[in-house]
C-alpha cells in the first residue's frame, strides 16, 4: 500500500523526468529504414508489392515484391514487434529484381518495401494488409 510519502516521492519523480530534456527517439521502423538507406530520400515509385488485402491468416501471408533494376530489396513490417522481415540482394546471375515469399504479420499494418536501385538511389512503397482474428480454430 502506498503511503503519502511514497505518493509524493513518485509524483516528484515523474515531474522531474518530465522536465528533463528529451530528444525525439527514432522508432524501430525508422532505424530499420535508416540502416538500409543511410537516411537517403526514397522515391515513391518503382516498387510494387503484391499482397492480399485481407490475410487469410497472419501466420502465413504470401507477398511478392518487384522493383525493376534494383540491386537489393528490403521488406519491413511496420506493425510487427520487430519490423525487419528480410533483405534480398540480387547477384549477377539474377534474372529479375523480384522476390516472392511468405511472411508473418502480427496485426493489421502497412508492409513496406524499399529498393536500392541501380543508380544507388532508393525507392519505396507500402500497402496495408488487414490481419484478422479467426473466430475459432482449435
Amino acid at each position: 500500500m502506498l503511503t503519502r510519502r511514497d505518493t509524493l516521492a513518485i509524483g516528484l519523480g515523474v515531474s522531474a523526468v518530465a522536465m528533463l530534456p528529451v530528444t525525439a527517439s527514432a522508432t524501430p521502423v525508422d532505424d530499420a529504414i535508416a540502416a538500409f538507406t543511410g537516411g537517403a530520400d526514397m522515391a515513391d515509385s518503382g516498387v510494387t508489392i503484391t499482397a492480399p488485402e485481407i490475410a487469410e491468416n497472419g501466420n502465413t501471408v504470401p507477398i511478392t515484391i518487384e522493383a525493376e533494376g534494383a540491386s537489393e530489396i528490403m521488406i519491413i513490417a511496420t506493425g510487427n514487434p520487430t519490423p525487419g522481415v528480410g533483405r534480398f540482394m540480387f547477384g549477377e546471375a539474377s534474372g529479375s529484381s523480384l522476390i516472392a515469399t511468405r511472411m508473418r504479420l502480427g496485426r493489421t499494418q502497412d508492409v513496406m518495401a524499399i529498393a536500392k536501385l541501380a543508380d544507388g538511389s532508393y525507392a519505396s512503397t507500402q500497402v496495408e494488409v488487414k490481419v484478422t482474428i479467426g473466430g475459432c480454430g482449435g
Binding site: P52, I54, E56, N57, N59, T60, P62, T132, I133, G134, G135, C136, G137, G138
Partner: protein
C-alpha cells in the same frame, strides 16, 4: 439433446446457400475448380443424400471457403508445405523398425499399391467389430506385427504416416461404411454432432450445418468436412490430425473436450466423414 425441426433447418440452410453463392461474395468462388498441378481434378461439390445430410442442399469441400491465395497453394504440389511432411511419411514407410526388423513396405509393398483407397474408407470397423481410425490401424501394425512402439496419435511420426497414406487416396471419393456393424457408431457420432456443448452451447451443426458460408468473427465457416485431413493449417504452419481439430473446435465452445483417440471422437469422425461422401479425398489440404 436438441434436434432441429426440418423446416427451420432447411430455411437456414437455404439462407446459408444464398450467402455462399450470393453476388456479394467475391471470395470464395463457388465455381472454382480444384485441380492439382493442372492435371488432377478433385471433386469439391457433391450431391447431398437424404439419409446422411438431409439438411444440406449440397456438400462442399472446405477448400471452397478459403481465400484465393490459400486455394492456390493447395493446387500446386510444390507450393503445398504439407507435401514436405508427406515426404517424411514416405521415407518412414520404407524404414525398418521394431523387433521384427520390418518396414511397412516389407508387408504392404509399395505404398501406392498397398494403401490405395484406404483413407477413403476411414474410419473403419475392424474384424473384431470395433471402430478404428487410421491412426489405430497404424499403431496395431506397429505394436502387434512390427514389434515397435506405438506412435503418439498427434505426434510428428504419426501425422507424417497418415499424410503419406492419405495421398494414396487423393482423388477418390469418400466412401465410409455406415451400415451393418458401423451403424451404432454412426448413430453415436450423429448424436454427438447435434449435441450442444460448452458454455457457448454450440453443437457442430450450429456452425457447420446452420451457418456455413457465414463469418464467425473473421473466419469463413465451412461445412466442417474432413476429406482434406491431415490438413496443413496456415495458423500453425503444420499438418493437423482430425481428432486434434475436433478437440480444438469443442474446446472453443468452452467445453471440456473429448480426448484424442477416444471412442467419442472416433464415432464423430465416422459420422463427419460420412457427411462428405462423394467429395474427393484431398490428400493433404491447405486451410486457415
Amino acid at each position: 439433446m436438441q434436434h432441429l425441426k426440418p423446416a427451420k433447418s432447411l430455411a437456414l440452410a437455404a439462407a446459408c446457400m444464398a450467402m455462399f453463392t450470393g453476388v456479394a461474395f467475391a471470395d470464395p468462388d463457388p465455381t472454382a475448380e480444384l485441380v492439382i498441378d493442372g492435371e488432377l481434378h478433385l471433386v469439391t461439390r457433391a450431391p447431398s443424400e437424404d439419409d446422411i445430410t438431409p439438411y444440406l442442399p449440397e456438400r462442399y469441400s472446405g477448400w471452397l471457403f478459403r481465400s484465393e491465395g490459400t486455394r492456390d497453394i493447395q493446387m500446386d504440389d510444390f507450393e503445398n508445405p504439407g507435401l514436405l511432411t508427406v515426404d517424411a511419411g514416405l521415407a518412414a514407410w520404407e524404414t525398418a523398425e521394431g523387433t521384427a526388423g520390418q518396414s511397412c513396405q516389407d508387408c504392404h509393398g509399395d505404398i501406392e499399391d498397398g494403401m490405395a483407397g484406404v483413407r477413403a474408407i476411414m474410419p473403419h470397423v475392424n474384424a473384431d467389430g470395433e471402430l478404428r481410425s487410421m491412426e489405430d490401424y497404424v499403431n496395431t501394425c506397429r505394436t502387434e506385427r512390427m514389434g515397435a512402439e506405438a506412435w503418439n496419435w498427434n505426434g510428428g511420426d504419426m501425422i507424417a504416416m497418415t499424410a503419406a497414406i492419405s495421398m494414396q487416396s487423393r482423388g477418390m471419393p469418400v466412401a465410409v461404411a455406415i451400415d451393418g456393424e458401423a451403424a451404432p457408431y454412426w448413430e453415436q457420432g450423429r448424436d454427438l454432432y447435434y449435441t450442444r456443448f460448452g458454455q457457448l452451447e454450440l453443437s457442430c451443426a450450429s456452425c457447420h450445418e446452420e451457418s456455413y458460408g457465414l463469418n464467425i468473427r473473421a473466419d469463413h465457416l465451412s461445412q466442417g468436412q474432413i476429406n482434406g485431413f491431415p490438413t496443413y493449417r496456415l495458423k500453425n504452419a503444420r499438418l493437423n490430425s482430425i481428432h486434434n481439430r475436433f478437440r480444438g473446435c469443442i474446446r472453443d465452445t468452452r467445453a471440456e473436450t473429448f480426448s484424442i483417440g477416444s471412442d467419442e471422437l472416433r464415432a464423430l469422425e465416422l459420422y463427419v466423414a460420412s457427411r462428405g461422401t462423394g467429395l474427393s479425398v484431398e490428400g493433404v489440404a491447405v486451410r486457415n
